[in-house]
Symmetry: C2
Subunit: 612 residues, 2 copies
Amino acid sequence: MPQYKAPLRDIKFLMHDLLDAPAQLGNLPFYAQNETADADLMTQVLEEAARFVEGELVPLNAVGDQEGCTRHEDGSVTTPTGFKAAYKKYREAGWTALDADPAYGGQGMPHLVSNVLVEMMTSANVAWSMYPGLSHGAYSALHAVGSEALKNTYLPKIVSGEWTGTMCLTEPHAGTDLGIIRTKATDNGDGSYSITGTKIFISAGEHDLADNIVHLVLARLEGSPMGTKGISLFLVPKVLVNEDGSLGERNGVVCGSLEHKMGIHGNATAVLNFDGAKGYLVGEINKGMNHMFIMMNAARLGTGLQGLGLGEVAYQNALAYAKDRLQMRHEPRVDASQAADPIIVYPDVRRMLLTGKAYTEAGRALAMWLALSIDIEHHHPDEAKRKEAADLVALLTPIAKAFMTDNGFNVAVQSQQVFGGHGYIREWGMEQFVRDARIGQIYEGTNGIQALDLLGRKVLMDGGKKLQKLAGMLQEFVEENAEDENLAPYLDQLGKAANQLGTLTMVIGQKAMQGPEGADEVNAAAVDYLRYFGHVVYGYLWARMAKIAQEKIGAGQDKDGFYLAKVQTAKFYFTKLFPETKMLATTIKAGNEPLAVDDRAVFGLEQPLVGA
Amino acid sequence: MPQYKAPLRDIKFLMHDLLDAPAQLGNLPFYAQNETADADLMTQVLEEAARFVEGELVPLNAVGDQEGCTRHEDGSVTTPTGFKAAYKKYREAGWTALDADPAYGGQGMPHLVSNVLVEMMTSANVAWSMYPGLSHGAYSALHAVGSEALKNTYLPKIVSGEWTGTMCLTEPHAGTDLGIIRTKATDNGDGSYSITGTKIFISAGEHDLADNIVHLVLARLEGSPMGTKGISLFLVPKVLVNEDGSLGERNGVVCGSLEHKMGIHGNATAVLNFDGAKGYLVGEINKGMNHMFIMMNAARLGTGLQGLGLGEVAYQNALAYAKDRLQMRHEPRVDASQAADPIIVYPDVRRMLLTGKAYTEAGRALAMWLALSIDIEHHHPDEAKRKEAADLVALLTPIAKAFMTDNGFNVAVQSQQVFGGHGYIREWGMEQFVRDARIGQIYEGTNGIQALDLLGRKVLMDGGKKLQKLAGMLQEFVEENAEDENLAPYLDQLGKAANQLGTLTMVIGQKAMQGPEGADEVNAAAVDYLRYFGHVVYGYLWARMAKIAQEKIGAGQDKDGFYLAKVQTAKFYFTKLFPETKMLATTIKAGNEPLAVDDRAVFGLEQPLVGA
C-alpha cells in the first residue's frame, strides 16, 4: 500500500522563505481583523490538516478505487466504504469552513492555507477530495454573485458542510462548447425557474455524504440569445428548502446513471436529469458564463493542485521503493554483502526521481504564490494592488492548470516506471495514481483549451500587458542577481528564455492579426507556448528558491541539508528539464503550416475542410 | 465501441515501395523453395489476417478488459468470454503455424508477414494476442537450441497451437536482475531435472485455451556458479507427455494466483509455483541466459509492435471522433448551418492526430524493416549478409522496443485527449488503449534497460562499429539525394543529427572509460540517447518514404492521395517532432553530474551512496 507524508518542511519554506506570507497577509485588513494570518496559527492548522489527511484519507484511497460508487434504482448513490464517515469527521473538524467568510460561519483563513489543504487531500485521496472541492467552487460563485436571500439560505449549510455543491456545465453534445447547451429555464413568475435538460460528467453529482446537494446549473432562459451570451446560472437544490430553512420536497433532478471511468472511481460522476426542477437565478440573466468562471478559475487552480498532489505522492512512493529495491551491482558497491544494490544508486533512476522532485516543488511554489496572490486580489486595501494581483492570477491560472497536470501525469508515469513490473500491479498503488492523474489534463477545460486561454485571452487580448508585467519582474530578478556567480548559469538561461518568450509572443501576435488564418496560428502554437511559458515560470521560481537556499547555506543555517537539496534540484531542473524550451521554440516557430495538410489525402475526408 | 481497420494500404506500400520485399525474400533459398515469398500470396495472407483480426478479435477487446481472467481454487484459470473460441478458430485457420518451420508443421512464411499479423492482433486485442505471442517465443528458443528429442515432442504441438508456451524469468526479488534468481534445478539422473521455485508476472502462464502449456524456465542447477553464468534453461510442461506423445500426469507446477493489473486484463498474469516439477534441459547447462535471449529479442520486437499497434488503433479512433464531434466555430466555417464545426479543423487537434500518424507510420516502417532483416539474418546464403543483417537487428531491437512503446503510449494518451471527457469514460475504449499500452514500456526489460542495452552493449561494446555501419547508410542516402530540393530541408536536419549522434557517442564513450564513474555516465545518458537515436532512425525512414512518395506523385501515380499524405506527414515529423533532438542533445551533454546529488540531503538517505 502506498504511503504519504505531507511535505510540511517544503510548505513552511515556501510560506516563509519564498513568499514571506505572514507579513504579506498581515497587511490585509481582513486577515488582520480575523487574526487568521498569524504564522503560528497557520502552521498549527497545516499540521493538523496533515494529521487528518494522513490518518483518515490515505487509508481510503485504494478502497475508493476498488469499490467505486454504486447507483441504486431510485437514483441514489452510495460512496465507497469509509467515505461518509471521513466526510463527517472532516466537516465536524471544521475543514469545510476553513477559508470561508465568517459572515456565513466560515473561519476566514487565508486562501494560502486552504490551498495547501487541497494539495494534501489530492495526494491522499483525490476522488474523496472532490466532494468538498466541488462544494467550495459552488460556495465561491454563490458568495460572489448570489442574492442576499440565496446566500443566507444556502451558504451557511455549504460552509458547515451539511450540504455539498456541484457545477453542472457539460451536456452530451456540449463540452468545450458551452455556447450550444440545450438545458432550458422557464420563468415560473414567482421568483423561481423551471429547469429541464441533461447534464453529464457531474462530479460529486449524487452521493450519500450530505443531506442536500446544491447544483449550480448553466441553462438558457427561454427567449435568450443563442451562444454564450444567452446562458444564465441557476441554483437547483436536490431537495427543496422550506422557508424556515428545513428540507422540504425532493426536487425534479435525478441521477440517471454513473459513468465508468479510467480513474477517480471513488467520486460519483453523474448524469443528472433535470425535469422541470425548481431553480433560482444566480447573479444576472445571461451572465451565467461570467459567473461560472468564478467557479472555473478556482476549479482550474484546484485541478492544477491535483497534478501537484498526485505527482508528490507518486514521487514519495517511487523514492521509497528505489531505496528498498535491490537489483544489479553498482560500482562502487553500496554493500558488497548484499547480492545487489538499491536501485536509487543508478543515474537513470535518480533522473526519474529528480524529475518528480523538481516538477513537484516548482509546482508547489507556483500554487502557493498564486494562492497568496488570490488573497491579495480579494483583500488588499489598495485597488491597484488588487488589480495587479488579479492580473497575475489571470495570467498564471491556465499555466497552473495545464502545466501542473501535464507534469503531474508525467511524474506519476515516471514514478510508476521506477517500480518496474510492480508498478503495473494494482496492489502497489502506483497505477492508480497514473489513472487518477490523467483526468486533470482533461476536465475543467482540456489543457489545449487552457493553452488557448493563456495565449489568446490572457496574453494577446491585452496586447501582452500582463505578460510584460511578469517579464519585467523576471528581468528585474535576473539583473539584481547578475553578480551572483552561483546563479549565473541559471539566470543566463532564464533571461534568454524570457526574452525569447517575448519574441515568440510578438511573432504569433503578428500572425494572429492576419485574417481568419491568424486564429489558426494561435491555435497551432498554443500548447507548445504554454509549456514554454510554464518552464519560464518554473525557472524563475527555481532560481529564486536556489538564491534563498544559497543564502541560508552561506549563513550556516542548513542543518538538515534541506537547502542543499534545493540548490541541487534547481541545478537538475535547469540542466535536464528546462532544455525542453529549445525544442518548443523550434516547434512554435514552425507555426500552422505543417498542420494545414490536405484533408482528403491525410485524414480521408471527402471534402477538404482546411488546407489544400 | 472503438473500431479498427487493418492499415493494409500502408503495409503494402512498405512491403513493396520501401522494402522491395518480394524480391529480397525471393533471393533467400528457404522462401524460394517453399514458395512463400510470392507477392500475391503474402498479400492474400495479410488480407485474410485482417479479416480474422477485425472480425474475431476486435469484438473481444472490451470484453477481455471488463471480465479479466478468473483463477479457480484448483489453480485453473478461465479466460474471458469468447477468448477460447477465437483461439480455436485462430489455430484451426493455421495462424499459429504461419512463419514456423515446415519440418514441424509450419507454413514457412516470412517473418515479415507474421510480424504484420502481430501488429494487427495487438491493435485489435493486445491481451488476447499475448497467448499466441508467448507461444511463438517459446517456439523460437526451442527451435534454436532444443535437442532433437525435445523438438520432435514439443514443436509440432506448439506449431499447431494445440499447446501454448511461456517464458518464466522473473521472481519476486529478481526482475531486471536475473542473476539473482533462486529457482533451483536438481538433476534426477534420468535425463530430467526437478525444478523448484516461484516465478511471477508469467504472461499466459495458466489458461483454458490449450491442453498443455510448455513453460521455459530459468533456474540454477545445483552446483552452478552464482550470477548469470550459472543459469540454465529448462522446459517444464504443465502436463507431462508420455512417450507416445499423449498427455500423461499433471506436473508439479501450479498457478498460485493471478495479478490484478492496470491493463491487459484479458491475459492471465500468473504466479507459478514449481514444486519439484519435472523439467528438461534446453540447450547447454549454464547457457540459459544466452538461450533465453533468443526469446527475449523476438519478444522485444513483439513488445515494440504492441506500441505500434496500440498507437495505430488509438489514432484511428481519435481520427474518427475528430471528424464527428462538433464544437466551437472555426473561421472559415465548415458548414454554417451547423451550430459548430468538426474539431478536426482546429490545428491543435490536427497536431495530436498527426503526431499519431507520424509516429505510427515510421514505427511500422522500422518494424517491417527489422522483420525483413530477421528473415535475411536467418536465411541468406551469404554469411556476410547474414552477419550484416544480424548486426542491424541487434542494434535496432532495443530502439524498436523502447522508442515504439514510448511513442505508442504517448500516442494513445494524445488520442485519448482528442476525446475530451469522453476519453476518460470506459465505454469509448480509449482509456483501455492507454492502460494496455503502458505495460509495453515496462516488461521484456524496462525501456531504461533497453537504453542501456543500446548504448552500453550494442554501441559502445564493439567500439561503435554497428553504429558506424548504420550511420554510413544514412550518410549515403543524404549524399545521394543532396540535389533533391524537396528533400533538402529534411536531409539537412537528418545529416546534422546523424553527425551529432556520432559526436555524442564519442563523448559518452570517452567518459565511459574513466573508471567506475564511467558506467554512471553511460547510465545517465542512455534513455535520452536512445530517444535521440530513435529520431535519427525515424528521420531516415521518413526521408526515404518522402522520396518514394514524391517520385510517385511526379509520375502521376497518386490517385488516392496516399503519397501526398506521406510527403505531408514527413514534413510534420521533421518540423514538429524531430526537434526533440535539440533538447536531447543538451540533456545528454549535461551528463551524470546533475544526477550525482547528495543522497542525504536530496533523497533523505542516512548514508551517502553515491555523490557527496
